[in-house]
């Protein structure tokens, strides 16, 4: 198990690995449980697949439990998720009753492991009600909210708040995403795993084959946006920026995202994007399956510049992924993009298609600056947004939460 952490040593260096080992020492043997609602698919599962073995490799006794539910439960939690992000949809009493019942059943199934744990991490709203059924809790319970709850639909937030207020602490990705709760609210941004299929280094031959696979010309610059076909991601604005920039420099545009056949608005946006594409052979709309991690990795790597021209964004892990691949990012001036994209350092924040076009031209004209910013971008992610930083903050939080609630915790001597 020890080797799991060692795999990161060549990437993050000896000092980081040593730091993590020292920090984890007082936590050895601590019983930790993570609870979410899926073992595969989605950002939370991706992070846990990596974080759980990393904590185990540091000597913590970590379990990962997944709650189950009927289709009504998942309909309810999907709606809950959307309303917390601002959609105004009411949840019926029957759905909420089923939500609570499902949590109660899951608590009964997991009672022993939850009651024995020293620290319990409950991820997102799906299992948030578990705590209500735990009458004599032994450990500390922490609610990890991965969602941007800055502008929630109030009736649903008020309902959920009753379940999450009694927790010992909560974790939010950014301060601006948080709602005030009567306990410590920790801030831990998400991270990427540099060894995952989506981010690992790829063979140059595989990259060459990617050009061929998607009909891209390796001799002309490529700009790419990877995102769902969603109005908030502004794919039409990206096409406009491409057209404005192409008048000055040869260019190919890749818009890569999943088909989202179950999302009526997604299909509508895709149709608009396809209409905007017209007969232009240099606009490539790629509909990829949700698990096409390696293809996304290759597309990001063969791009010269990556865009994430969102009008509204959560943290924006696609930005992190591109920066890690030494690509300057042109990002919308919103959400978590602001703490990743710094003008002239890791890319540019843009507010309009015109702004994006200007920066595309600038970067393609100044290839030395492009390369320099790419290197800086990778170093920035290495320092701040890799899973090892995420792990460090979880360890720090666990020490803080299991010690006195003071600003300064001195562990020894």
């Amino acid at each position: 198990m020890e080797e799991y952490l060692e795999r990161y040593r060549p990437i993050v260096g000896d000092a980081v690995i040593h730091h993590l080992r020292q920090l984890a020492r007082p936590l050895r043997g601590l019983r930790v449980v993570h609870v979410n609602s899926t073992r595969e698919g989605g950002g939370v599962a991706e992070i846990l697949q990596c974080l759980v073995p990393l904590k185990q490799s540091l000597g913590l006794d970590v379990a990962w439990e997944v709650i189950g539910g009927n289709p009504d439960f998942f309909e309810c939690t999907k709606k809950m998720h959307n309303t917390l992000q601002g959609n105004r949809v009411s949840l019926s009493k029957a759905l909420l009753k089923n939500y609570e019942e499902t949590n109660r059943h899951n608590f009964e199934r997991l009672e022993d492991v939850l009651k024995e744990a020293d620290v319990v991490f409950i991820h997102d709203p799906q299992p948030a009600a578990l705590l209500r059924y735990c009458d004599r809790r032994r450990g500390k319970w922490i609610w990890r909210c991965h969602i941007d709850v800055s502008h929630p639909y109030r009736p649903v937030w008020k309902y959920l708040r009753d379940f999450v207020s009694p927790y010992d602490a909560s974790i939010w990705s950014l301060s601006s995403f948080a709602q005030v709760l009567p306990h410590p609210m920790y801030l831990i941004p998400p991270s990427i795993d540099p060894l995952s299929e989506k981010n690992r280094d790829l063979d140059p031959l595989e990259l060459a084959a990617t050009h061929e696979k998607w009909g891209l010309d390796p001799d002309r610059p490529i700009i790419t946006q990877v995102s769902r076909f969603d109005r908030f991601k502004d794919p039409l604005g990206v096409i406009e920026a491409y057209r404005l920039a192409r008048a000055f420099t040869p260019l190919q545009l890749v818009l890569a995202g999943s088909g989202a056949s179950d999302d009526p608005e997604g299909a509508e946006v895709l149709a608009e994007v396809q209409a905007a594409q017209g007969e232009d052979p240099d606009i490539h709309i790629l509909l990829l399956p949700p698990d096409a991690h390696r293809s996304i990795n290759a597309l990001q790597r063969i791009s010269h510049v990556v865009l994430q021209k969102s009008l509204r964004e959560g943290f924006g892990l696609t930005v992190t992924e591109a920066l890690w691949k030494e690509k300057p990012v042109l990002g919308g001036d919103t959400g978590g993009i602001r703490i990743q994209v710094f003008n002239h350092h890791t890319g540019f924040l843009v507010n309009t298609p015109e702004g994006a076009a200007l920066r595309i031209r600038y970067l393609l004209r100044h290839r030395d600056r492009l390369a320099e910013m790419g290197k800086k971008a990778k170093a920035f992610v290495r320092e701040n947004f890799l899973i090892t930083r995420h792990l460090r903050e979880y360890l720090t939080l666990m020490i803080a939460i299991t010690h006195a609630a003071t600003d300064r915790i001195e562990l020894d001597g």
Partner: protein, 217 residues
């Protein structure tokens, strides 16, 4: 007298939201008054231990917000020049920031404001300090080990040390000074480093450079 070994410690800092926010300069003034001292510490020093690529002339979060969100250059410059090391404690530092904000409010007819998504969020932090099990016995060994120290170690011994006795001094130079045969050529350049316009990585390189140069001579 035998000199005590240098006990190398490390630290990790974790930020917490306080729920306190400001959307205009008057609100900023009120929130600075009521914010816990840990917020003042975080907004002056926390930048060194978190993701940041900011203009070096606006080294604290208040100055940076004044420049980038309020677009009040005059205020940004006045806040940026505040050196947190000049103050005995965080309450003195808080008073200085308030003086600057009060003065600016006096000069303005209306307090400048920002859009909702540009609010100033007051953040505090908890710091966990732990032993590394490394003891350094002499200055040469410090030179050898310095390049491998973590960012947390540099922060704890070079930045955070200034809040502990002997106040306003870093731990490295304070320890080196206890050696009779160590000259000012080593201690003074370390004390001359301005820790406020740089990164921890750069600080480590600077410290390593000074130690290397001294022992080459």
């Amino acid at each position: 007298m035998e000199t005590k070994p240098f006990i190398v410690r490390d630290c990790a800092l974790i930020p917490l939201a306080t729920g306190l926010r400001a959307q205009n300069l008057r609100e900023l003034q009120n929130r600075i008054r009521e914010a816990p001292p840990a917020c003042i510490y975080y907004h002056f020093w926390g930048g060194l231990l978190r993701a940041k690529f900011d203009d070096p002339e606006f080294p604290n979060d208040f100055a940076s917000w004044a420049q980038h969100s309020l677009h009040d250059k005059r205020l940004a410059e006045r806040l940026a020049i505040i050196n947190p090391m000049d103050f005995e404690d965080l309450e003195d530092l808080r008073r200085e920031v308030l003086d600057v904000v009060d003065e600016r409010l006096d000069e303005l007819d209306f307090p400048p404001w920002v859009e909702t998504d540009q609010q100033f969020h007051f953040i505090r932090s908890q710091i966990v300090v732990f032993n590394t099990n490394i003891e350094v016995r002499d200055p040469r060994e410090l030179r050898d080990r310095m390049p491998s120290f973590s960012s947390g170690t540099i922060f704890y011994h070079f930045i955070d040390a200034r809040r502990r006795p002997p106040y306003k001094q870093d731990d490295f130079s304070a320890w080196l000074e206890t050696f009779e045969d160590v000259h000012g050529d080593l201690v003074l350049p370390i004390r001359a480093i301005d820790p406020y316009f740089t990164t921890l990585e750069e600080l480590r390189k600077e410290l390593t450079g000074i130690l290397d140069l001294y022992f080459k001579e």
